[in-house]
Symmetry: C2
Subunit: 199 residues, 2 copies
């Protein structure tokens, strides 16, 4: 994060124009098919200015969804100890983030994703390219199974967020994190590494 | 449902006044603590008229959340064959409902519950009192564990609905129902009947 603190905030209008162009591009074409160059063209600025204000494409994407945390920094700790217990560690990290002050932004994003089609696409892209893909790349699973495993993990994690932070259904809303790690962690572990049914 | 078809639709203004009073009461005080009498008083009508227009308290509650299906009719089939496989059957029934024309209302309710605090409370009450409580009453589990088991099932089912119908994340959005029954069913089964961690 040292690069970001050293970066000047820049002209607010230019920043906002870049962010608006980036939101539209990521939502319409997805993270992978969107280039910094295309965003710069849409915003009417030089690509170097986009890098200067926002850093990498991943950092620009996180700025469009207003998420102050970097999955690339958080997830290695989840994956470092290997596949055993990765489900529990993923749930524990997830709760630590959402229970923290940064979780407010995550809840706002989730609420907005449900009511707004474009924000929904941004959240989906964020989940797939920044979180689920990283988690599954760190485990040794069949590449053809990655999309289904990632989406299954997504069903459980988004549902946990909905129940704990949006609908606030008890006892999940007030449960100690370790209670949820012990009950939901094995589910995530199964989605990550257990054999899938043959189609 | 024969009773409903035999019931006259009644005065639209009166019906709407009863529905508005019922929504407010269910959202504020919850399903259990709300009586038909209190709703009638708030709407300025006789309790007999509430019964006449809407039937039982359960039926009135379903009318406030605009859900055209009755969990009390659907869930016995899930529970009839006993606890074994109840998770798979619950996922199968859930998908059959949400994939049907009635699912449109369910998706609308879910979207609204996220953006509107009161609708969120209604959905929570609906889940707890009409769905989860019925499912768990049909199984033979420790009553002190019912709230946590029900909420855990809720995390998985709401997350499935979010991914398949709201965010439409592939491959879950287009997956064959039996693929989801085979992968997510065992999760729900575990939340329903497997031992919970000791607190």
């Amino acid at each position: 994060m040292a690069r970001r603190t050293g970066r000047r905030p820049g002209n607010p209008d230019t920043r906002e124009a870049i962010l608006a162009a980036a939101r539209a591009a990521f939502a319409e074409r997805g993270f992978d098919a969107t280039s910094i160059r295309a965003i710069a063209t849409a915003a009417g600025v030089d690509p170097a200015l986009v890098h200067h204000y926002f850093g990498t494409k991943e950092e620009l994407f996180r700025a469009t969804v207003a998420i102050p945390l970097d999955p690339a920094e958080l997830l290695p700790a989840v994956l470092a100890a290997g596949p055993d217990g990765a489900g529990e560690r993923l749930v524990r990290t997830f709760l630590a983030v959402w229970d923290s002050p940064a979780g407010v932004a995550a809840v706002a994003l989730l609420r907005s994703a449900v009511s707004n089609e474009w924000t929904g696409r941004l959240l989906r892209e964020f989940l797939v390219t920044q979180v689920l893909r990283r988690v599954l790349d760190g485990l040794d699973v069949d590449p053809t199974e990655l999309p289904l495993r990632g989406a299954l993990v997504g069903t459980q994690m988004i549902g946990l967020a909905m129940m704990r932070y949006v609908l606030r259904l008890e006892p999940v809303a007030s449960a100690a994190p370790e209670t949820l790690v012990a009950t939901i962690g094995p589910t995530v572990q199964r989605y990550l590494t257990a054999p899938l049914p043959t189609p």
